[in-house]
Amino acid sequence: MKKVVLVLLMVLLILPAAFAGGQADKPDTGKKTVNVFGAFVDEEQRRFEEAIKPFEERTGIDVIYEGSKDFETLISVRVEGGNPPDIAGLPQPGLMTNFASQGKLVPMWDSLLETVNTNYAPVWKDLGSYNGVPYGVFHRVNAKSFVWYPKKAWAREGYEVPTTWDEMIALMDKMVANGHTPWSIGIEAGGATGWVGTDWVEDVMLRIAGPEVYDKWVNHEIPFNAPEVKEAFEIIGKIWLNPKYVYGGTNTILTQSYTDSPRTMFDNPPKSWMHRQGNFVTTFLSEDVQNNLEEELGVFPLPGIDDEFGIPVLGGGDQFVVFNDRPEVREFMEFLATWESGELWAKAGGAIFPYLNQDLSAYENDIERSLAEALVNAKVFRFDASDLMPGQVGAGSFWTGIVDWVNGKPLNTMLNDVERSWPK
């Protein structure tokens, strides 16, 4: 009998925990709520919540944001299970097309479409569309075609910002002659190892072949092992595979995490002198550097190669899509399409926004201001190709292809492997 009582007691203890988890999500009655599910967490989540406060205060609608690092897995599970959030912030356009093709998404309604048409460059609406029907609204975006450098150390050595690719190579050779290692590159990113490399390839593709060939490459109208792609890899290989140019050589490229790699620029003396990464790089730097960002960190756009295409900007961003059509959900989406929803985050730092009518003076520092300016003014903006390609390639063989290539696989074999993996 004692045993039975004990077992019952244990069940009593365990059950509430199991049920409490499920109950926590239940909204309070009476107040209108909008559930938003997204991929950003921690500090970024706090800044997003801060940025949407004016909306909550003005309308009395409670916006509950939930972020998860396993967003991409969980959102599919939730949608499949018939329990989608009201709004989701999708980091990959592939997810949007996936859900749109299944008819799970609510297309943009007229008033939202109007706001988007006035506030964004056309490229953003196209990126949020499937079969010509617009679904996604972009909010915080990132721009990736930038090279970062330790400002003080550069000034000490008299290095100057290169404006062409050749100038950049000359600068690299000068650094090597001075006993310096020009680049720090790290592509380790857990389950996403390799993506840093895909960004390099995309940037060089845009610079040597231009946006039209780039689009064809993304849509598989030219094969993955096309000569342009091979050329892009060869240009990168001249830097990456030369141990004089990259700190630690290929082994460090493979094993150094992308968040750690920019830090070596701020060692004393610097172990590396340049790092190519998106605007979000600032969050990876040490607190000392972050506190004096403008004095410590310099930035220039990755130079162009072919004059015809200028200096294109590569980037990405989370697009917000609607699963449940309710008036308060619509209201919040329309808010997200306006600069007002980004202003407070821009002031807090760590984000840039694509709104055409944004107030650049709101940005917290000069660096982000200049990036936002470059983004709004860029003649050519293209979305991260690996995010647009089918998952098999863009989050699969392209990533592993980069890893294998850096680890010694011949370029042709690797390109053919990736081409073969493209779904028919």
Binding site: V11, P16, E72, S76, N98, G191, Q392, A395, D404
Partner: protein, 370 residues
Amino acid sequence: MTTTDIRSEKRGVLASALITLGRLGVSLFVPIVAFGILWAGFIFLRDSNASQAVIAIVAIIWGVGGVAMLFWVTDWLVNRAPLSVAKKLQPFVFVGPALAILAWYLFVPTMRSLYLSFFDAQSNNFVKLDNYIFAFTDAKMLESFVNNLMWIVLGTGGAVGFGLLIALMADRVKLEKVYKSLIFMPMAISFVGAGVIWRFVYAYKPAGEDQIGLLNAIVTLFGGEPQAWFTMAGWNNVFLIVILVWLQTGYAMVIISAALKGVPSSIIEAGRIDGASEIRIIRSIIIPFIASTLVTVSTTIVIISLKIFDIVFTMTNGNYGTEVIASMQYKQMFRFYHYGRGSAIAMVLVIAVIPVMWYNLRQFSKREGF
């Protein structure tokens, strides 16, 4: 014969008919009421906006009481039936719920995976055997088959080999319990936890920097060049398998050690008197005695090696040529959203595990446990 007799007989028929009807009614009524109560509880839990405390209490009563009620009602129903039928039905009252849960959570999903494995990425179009052709021809898949074989051979061999060795040696020394506890301890660590720990063992920094990785710290201490262990093709698999061996040796040791205690000392004594060397005794007496235990332990670890995922996922993510079947399945399913291929790979894994599992269970029942 009087009229009263006939009347009473008639009444008897009527009464027994009524009783049967009543019984039938009750038999139907009781389950319906029981079901109604359970359903009401479910609806309340799903839709209610009551405070969490109330919901938790209702959930407890509903959960525990519901199970008890279900059991009691079924048992009661079965007991209504004639004895011969009741005897046959009774066992199912006890194993029925377990079977039902197993079917719902194991059998149905497996069948669904089998079904999905013949369809395309979105499960819309029938693609015949395409997904299986992919599973047996794709370069990364072939790589993962070879790697899994390596995991089975080296992982199982290592864990059982070391387990046996340590069990034999621990049997012969003082402080046996202390040594065994130390070896057993990694068993308490999850695979992901072990992955995190071993990342620090294998960590790599370029030459000239402080090596935070234990292995590279040792290498550089003796003047060697630091190595990026994970990128060394072929060897990196071995470095990962070491982790499995580290985790599973304790398990093998404990069970083998228990079997060792069962070897009759009189036979060993007899062997010694006959002048057999210690090695000979181990080979010719101890090993045959514990053979079935060795088989059980080996098959268990073979199954673990077959479905190995966590270690690879946390350490290399399948990069640098360390892909295994389970990590390929995860990638197809959750990164590429190709449900067809993911399911096909899952089925391949299931089919590979079944013979080992069957053999394992047969050994189990032969020995009636350990």
